[in-house]
Amino acid sequence: MENREFFYRRLHSLLGVVPIGIFLIQHLFVNHFAVYGPESFNKAASFMHDLPFRILLEIFIIFLPILFHAVLGVYIVFVAKNNVTRYGYFRNWMFFLQRITGIVTLVFIVWHVWETRVQIGLGTEELDYSLMETILASPVMFAFYVLGIISTTFHFANGLWSFLVSWGITVTPRSQKMATYATILIFLAVTYLGIRALFAFV
């Protein structure tokens, strides 16, 4: 359809933060229960699993927003002609990394959903601590998960920065600079949350 680009791009920006960003933080918080032991993790995981209308929550808060964000995101990646070698400015590098991490995160999410949610849905795996323990026992998979989490948290934090610009919240260079510092802190905090939980499984 003609002239829908503005709406789709704004929706893309919004969905990245609400609900996907919120879901990401919630997910990493729940994972973090693993730090307090397998039982603590299992309790938190089964609480999430037993939420009322879980399938609807999953479809409308997780699957559909991520699907839309991913499809339009891949398109956005392919229309850009990256030029960091010629213009090595900080924001241009962030622009480039946002696209790289977008693709890495997509691959990671597809893999992660396949070996956890899909397998649980098919009944071949149980949702518990030992599922992740088995997956992360392989050093290759562990490294892949570390990469996947860092890529996701970077994409989230930097995406939050451009969300603030796209929605016209940070307009002046000064406010955009402050937002840069704030999103760096968010990146560090959320990454710590995610990586610390990973180490609890090994």
């Binding site: 003609e2 002239n3 829908r4 680009e5 503005f6 709406f7 789709y8 791009r9 704004r10 956005i76 392919f78 229309v79 850009a80 002609k81 990256n82 030029n83 010629r86 213009y87 400015y89 924001r91 241009n92 962030m94 622009f95 480039f96 946002q98 920065w161 451009s162 610009v165 796209s166 929605w167 016209g168 919240i169 940070t170 307009v171 002046t172 260079p173 955009q176």
Partner: protein
């Protein structure tokens, strides 16, 4: 003392469909040369460094004081105006190429008509003509005029479009210059009367949503125009306009 020489390489192209090729020139160095005066030497002596006769290099230039924007080209990898680029500040051999975002007409001459089409699209002017005398317009505060003057320095030179990763043959993104011009004319007390029309144009396909915030534009702009501030400001304005349109406010027009 032997005459000091100056070497430069020009990326040449004989016509819009021809393959580009490099040609090296060696000319007599003079003090305080700019790139225009360097190129003019190829008109006097259209001979390459290895003595081959060739055609003079084609380029565009007008004002020679960095206000018209016609002589934009990529010099040692940096898009800038040939007139204000001094040879003494450059590493040799100097590499001169046409801007790559625009279609090449010949040698360093590029077709920037997409920028002028963009200005038409966003109505980058102030309509003052009527069938009768419209009388004097509202006054503009001096402080605001000074602020707007910075935005009015845009000379449609194309350097911001050249540096933007989202302006390319795969995308129809309008580019930073026109977005900032829409802001300029929307801030004028008379231009403001057509504010929504400019915002609607920015919300069309290829409009403001094509910006990916690489912020190269503001780094390379030769006039120091706060392009990314303009883009963020227009992001805010277009979002508000789209809400007004959707929720049906009386203030949408």
């Amino acid at each position: 003392m032997a005459q000091e020489k100056l070497t430069f390489i020009v990326k040449r192209q004989d016509n819009p469909n021809a393959e580009p090729y490099d040609e090296t020139f060696e000319i007599n160095y003079r003090k305080n040369m700019n790139i225009i005066s360097v190129l003019m030497e190829t008109q006097k002596y259209p001979i390459t460094a290895n003595g081959k006769k060739t055609s003079p290099v084609n380029w565009e230039s007008n004002c020679l004081e960095e206000v018209c924007g016609a002589c934009s080209m990529v010099i040692n990898g940096e898009p800038r105006q040939a007139c204000s680029t001094l040879v003494d500040q450059l590493e040799q051999p100097i590499r001169i190429e046409p801007m790559s975002t625009f279609p090449v007409e010949r040698d360093l001459v590029v077709d920037r008509s997409r920028m002028f089409d963009s200005l038409k699209k966003v109505k980058a002017w102030i309509p003052i003509d009527g069938t009768h005398d419209l009388g004097p317009g509202p006054r503009m505060p001096e402080k605001k005029r000074q602020w707007a003057y910075e935005l009015s320095k845009c000379m449609t030179c194309g350097v911001c479009l050249e540096a933007c990763p989202n302006v390319n043959s795969d995308s129809d993104f309008i580019g930073p210059a026109a977005l900032s011009q829409a802001r300029l004319f929307n801030s004028h007390p008379t231009g403001e009367m057509n504010k929504s029309e400019r915002l609607e144009a920015l919300m069309e396909d290829g409009g403001i949503s094509g910006c990916g915030n690489s912020q190269n534009c503001v780094q390379v702009c030769p006039k120091g125009i706060p392009l990314t501030t303009s883009i963020a400001a227009m992001n805010r304005e277009t979002n508000i306009q789209s809400f007004k349109n959707f929720f049906g406010s009386d203030y949408a027009h």
